[in-house]
């Protein structure tokens, strides 16, 4: 990446981001513009000042930046294996609630790779979960009556058996 013999190598531009809870993050421009949302703001001339990100908190933003830096540093950006390894490592220590925050952030910041990877990760996480566990995870209220729910379950009983995890408390 280093330009060889030039004495006056261009200093790398930094973008300043601010999370919705007030924390400041300095990020190299090449990394920041992997977010199409940020790239558009930069193109619109916001680069000089601080870019406020209303929808992302500090914790999540820090994780997103880590992801972007790792992706920018990939030796072979076209290698699916390298990307998969990176994603596996990135998600290995993430709790479900963080996954939801990250996918929302990826959507807001328009980072396609992170959105694809995190939706895939969430799908993997919930694949064998029971209905009531999923409701808890997503904070969804059950709007079926007990009779409706029972009828639905009976109709597709096979889908609730054989490999489906039991309800988590």
């Amino acid at each position: 990446m280093a330009s060889p013999q030039e004495n006056d190598s261009k200093p790398e531009t930094t973008i300043t981001l601010r999370s919705n809870d007030g924390e400041i993050f300095e990020v190299p421009e090449t990394v920041a513009v992997l977010s199409v949302t940020i790239k558009n703001m930069v193109d619109d001339g916001c680069a000089g000042g601080i870019i406020p990100l209303e929808e992302v908190d500090a914790e999540t933003l820090s994780q997103v930046i880590t992801y972007l830096k790792k992706h920018a540093a990939l030796l072979d950006p076209s290698s699916e294996t390298e990307k998969d390894e990176l994603d596996a490592e990135f998600f290995s220590d993430k709790e479900f609630n963080s996954l939801l925050d990250i996918v929302n952030a990826a959507n807001y910041l328009n980072i396609k790779e992170l959105q694809d990877a995190s939706t895939k990760q969430i799908a993997k996480f919930i694949r064998n979960k029971s209905v009531s566990t999923v409701r808890k995870l997503f904070g969804i209220e059950n709007d079926y009556t007990p009779e409706e729910e029972e009828a639905l379950r009976r109709e597709h009983q096979w889908a609730h058996e054989d490999g489906v995890e039991s309800d988590e408390d």
């Binding site: 939801l100 996918v103 959507n107 959105q115 939706t119 799908a123 997503f138 209220e141 729910e149």
Partner: protein, 364 residues
């Protein structure tokens, strides 16, 4: 924040889940159910799914009785191979062994036992989704002429998950040698309306479709049947656009249209319309490079029926032919290397058929 989880984002997660999980998750809430069962979601789930490498193998036994369905998982590492197979249970109560597969489309299999039972109380047409484990039996068709007649069925899914079955009824008289007079009477069953509707007008096709023992090919929203033009005894393809409900003809290359001892089969080959013409010695594989352009029929290759090769049962996405070997085994023929590889899976002594299969939520 969880309450404001955008629907598009939720759909992006759900679309990556298998049918069994999604069937269960319709119980999470009414809004989850309406997302999962919407035509748009079903379509995008199906196309997301089509990357899965699965074949549906239909095996017929003695006397053309339907024997078994299996799902075969394909691997393409180091050439075409099959990793595993799983027999799937056909729905109860339907006399499966006396049925014919009319066609496969978008995760649905259409079966009919009309060929075997003259008695109306035993006849039936069924549409089955193996991945959702649901099936429906159609209401009785309405065209039932007094004298002898032949009925041919076609099956497909038009846009917006519009599932339809088309039924062609040819009256048999002494004038056509009891083979069936053209034009047929036609009716269409639509899952949306749950009823049969007669097609009046636009049915002036002078082609007699072959019976459902010969499989249809469904491509570009059009059902294609092998057919005969009775006056000149010429073989052809009868086409029916299942969305627009319009008939047409697709002409065959001359040597196949008039060849006397050539057995024909219509297939979808790498997303084009294909024809296989078989003699005792070889199978010729043709493809229509430009749909509905007769001059674009191209002979791709010929497989010599040597070393126990029996017949062709279907084609994989990349054009390899699947066939039966020594009356028993399923094999794959690679047209580039001209090699036949025994896949180690039981085919069938009498006949088999493969479809490229994807799970779908239709008929949930």
């Amino acid at each position: 924040m969880l309450n404001y989880f955008p629907t598009e984002l939720l759909s992006e997660i759900l679309v990556k889940l298998p049918v069994k999980t999604l069937t269960r998750f319709t119980g999470v809430s009414k809004s989850w159910r309406s997302i999962i069962t919407s035509a748009a979601f079903i379509a995008s789930h199906l196309s997301n799914n089509s990357k899965n490498q699965t074949l549906l193998l239909t095996r017929y036994g003695h006397d053309n009785k339907l024997d078994q369905f299996s799902l075969l998982k394909v691997s393409e590492n180091g050439g075409f191979g099959i990793n595993s197979s799983m027999a799937i249970e056909a729905p109860f109560g339907f006399p499966i062994e006396y049925s014919n597969v009319v066609g496969y489309c978008d995760g649905l299999v259409c079966l009919s036992n009309c060929m075997f039972f003259r008695n109306p109380w035993q006849r039936g047409i069924m549409i089955w989704n193996p991945s959702v484990r649901n099936h429906i039996v159609l209401p009785e068709p309405t065209i039932n002429p007094e004298g002898p007649h032949i009925a041919v069925l076609g099956f497909g899914v038009a846009s917006r998950a519009h599932v339809k079955v088309v039924r062609l009824v040819y009256k048999c008289t002494i004038f056509d040698g009891f083979s069936g007079s053209v034009p047929p009477q036609v009716e269409i069953f639509s899952l949306k309306t749950w009823s049969w509707r007669r097609l009046i007008g636009g049915v002036d096709v002078a082609l007699r479709a072959y019976s459902n023992v010969y499989r249809q090919a469904f491509l570009n929203g059009v059902v294609h049947w092998l057919a005969k033009e009775p006056i000149h005894d010429r073989s052809s393809i009868l086409a029916f656009d299942i969305g627009d409900e319009v008939f047409g003809e697709v002409m065959l290359p001359y040597e196949l249209a008039t060849g006397a001892s050539v057995k024909l089969g219509v297939f979808v080959i790498e997303e084009s319309l294909g024809i296989v013409g078989s003699t005792n010695e070889s199978c010729g594989v043709w493809v229509m490079k430009e749909y509905r352009v007769k001059e674009s029929w191209t002979k791709l290759y010929k497989i010599d029926l040597v070393e126990g090769i029996n017949n062709l049962v279907g084609f994989w996405k990349s054009g390899e032919a699947l066939l039966t070997l020594r009356d028993l085994w399923l094999a794959v023929y690679n047209p580039e290397t001209k090699e036949t590889k025994d896949l180690g899976f039981y085919g069938n002594p009498y006949s088999s058929y493969v479809d490229i299969y994807a799970e779908s939520l239709l008929l949930w």
